[in-house]
Every structure is written in C-alpha cells, then in structure tokens.
C-alpha cells in the first residue's frame, strides 16, 4: 500500500476531497478544509475495487501488438515466399507489389 493508492481511492469517492495522507497508513488521514471524512471501510473497499480493475486489465496491458502497418508488411512478405498463397491472395499481393516495383527501396 502507498499514499497514492489511498488518495486514488479517496478521489474516486470524492473528487473534491482535500486530504493529507501520511506514512502510507489509512489510519493517518487528515481531512482538510471541511472535507467530510470517508469511512475507512469505504476507502478500503474502493482500493480493493481499483486493484481488481487493474488486475483485470493485465491481459490488455500485456498484449502489445505490432502496428497494423507492420502486421500487413509481415503478411505480405509471408505471401511473397509462398507461390500458392500468392495465387490465393492475388489482388492483395499484386497491389502491394506494384507499389514496391514502382518505388523500389534505394540500395
């Protein structure tokens, strides 16, 4: 646990809350400038909820794909290596190849 997690939970419950949190301790919260204190149990529940959301998104964070352009480029080169695929995906293959022929890479 750190202060940031406590503060994120508090701000999720009350975006206008003014607090001072010390020593990473949920028992050391000062409620400032008239902010209505939030029960400790509510803060803990919100922290657990935010942690669950974070954990649930691990799959998306881990799946970092190459760009669409890079994926298509890899696909074209795979087809280029296989005569059967060239025939099956003729239009796609030839459209890309026409550009490559018209504008060849230098060197």
């Amino acid at each position: 646990m750190n202060n940031n997690k406590i503060i994120k939970a508090i701000l999720k419950i009350n975006p206008n809350a003014e607090v001072l949190v010390s020593d990473n301790d949920i028992n050391k919260i000062s409620w400032l400038n008239g902010t209505t204190p939030i029960p400790k149990a509510d803060i803990e529940a919100k922290m657990a909820e935010l942690q669950a959301e974070y954990d649930a998104n691990q799959y998306q964070r881990d799946r970092v794909y190459p760009s669409i352009g890079d994926q298509l480029d890899m696909l074209w080169h795979s087809i280029d290596q296989n005569p059967k695929l060239k025939s099956e995906y003729f239009e796609f293959y030839e459209a890309i190849k026409a550009v490559k022929v018209k504008h060849p890479k230098n060197g």
Binding site: N3, L11, P15, D23
Partner: protein, 171 residues
Amino acid sequence: MAITRLGTNSITGLPDGIVSSASLASGVGGKILQVAQTTYGDTSTTSSSYSEFTTASITKSSASNKVLVGLYGNWSTDAAYDSGWSGGNIAVYVGGVKRFSTGYKGGESIGNIVTNQIACNWLDSTNESSATYSFQIRLIGGDTSSVGISRIHDDAMNYNANRIILMEIAG
C-alpha cells in the same frame, strides 16, 4: 598571562569555555557548532492549503548564531486524474510565520506518477535562541491530482533519503 606550549607537550586541564571563539585567529576553530538530523515519512496531499508533515527543532548556543536548514527527499506528483499539470510547494514556518519556501512542477496531463529529488538549503539568520521549524506541503496545479514528498512508488528503502538536517553555525 600567555601560555607557551613547549615542544610537542600537550596542554591539558583548561576549563570548559575559557577560550572563546572570538579569541581564536581568523580561520581557526570550528564554525559548525552542532548538527541535528531527523527523518520523516511518506506524505501526500490533495489540498492547496499548507499542511504540516514534519517538524525539527534546535536550541542554539548563542541567539546570534545562524542555522543552516536542509530538506532532502523526493517530490512525487500524480496527474492521473487529468486536468493539466500538478506540482507543489513546501514552506518552512516558525511560530506560524513562513520563513522559507520552494516549489516543484511535474506530471503534466499524464496518467502516471512523476518523482524528482528535492534538496533545499536555507540559511536562517534570525536572532533567536531556539526554533521549531514546521515543514508544510501543499498542492498547486490540477484540481484532482496530488503531490507528495518522499515517495518513489513502493520502494521503502527510499525512506533513508528523507531527512531534515539543522546545523548551527557560529555567527
């Protein structure tokens, strides 16, 4: 009566305080009379009002001596809840009166925590025999962000970096 030192023989038995610093030639003798160090914990705030996060006290041997006030730690700002940049101020109060301050800006419209080292030194020449310095922090910047001091994520070892050092310096 002058005391003459003979060869390498040492002189012992002088009572405390019999030789004052004013009696020493220029450049002779220590100028730092005492050093006091204290540490503080992790503190974060969402408020734009100053709040105390630690104190440090010193009693000087002479009211005219100066105090070098040192604050060391890490800023930490969080703009995770959008709305522009976040930053902070730290002010040092004595007796409810602001004596020094510093500031930091970080974390502009990014969903992450930004940390940066803080190392501030102020020379306090106030004529007083003792002082209790109140270190206070406040948020400046975005409405729903926070600012803290001493955090680097969950690295508890970083607490070693969070110090207040007071040095009494002969006036």
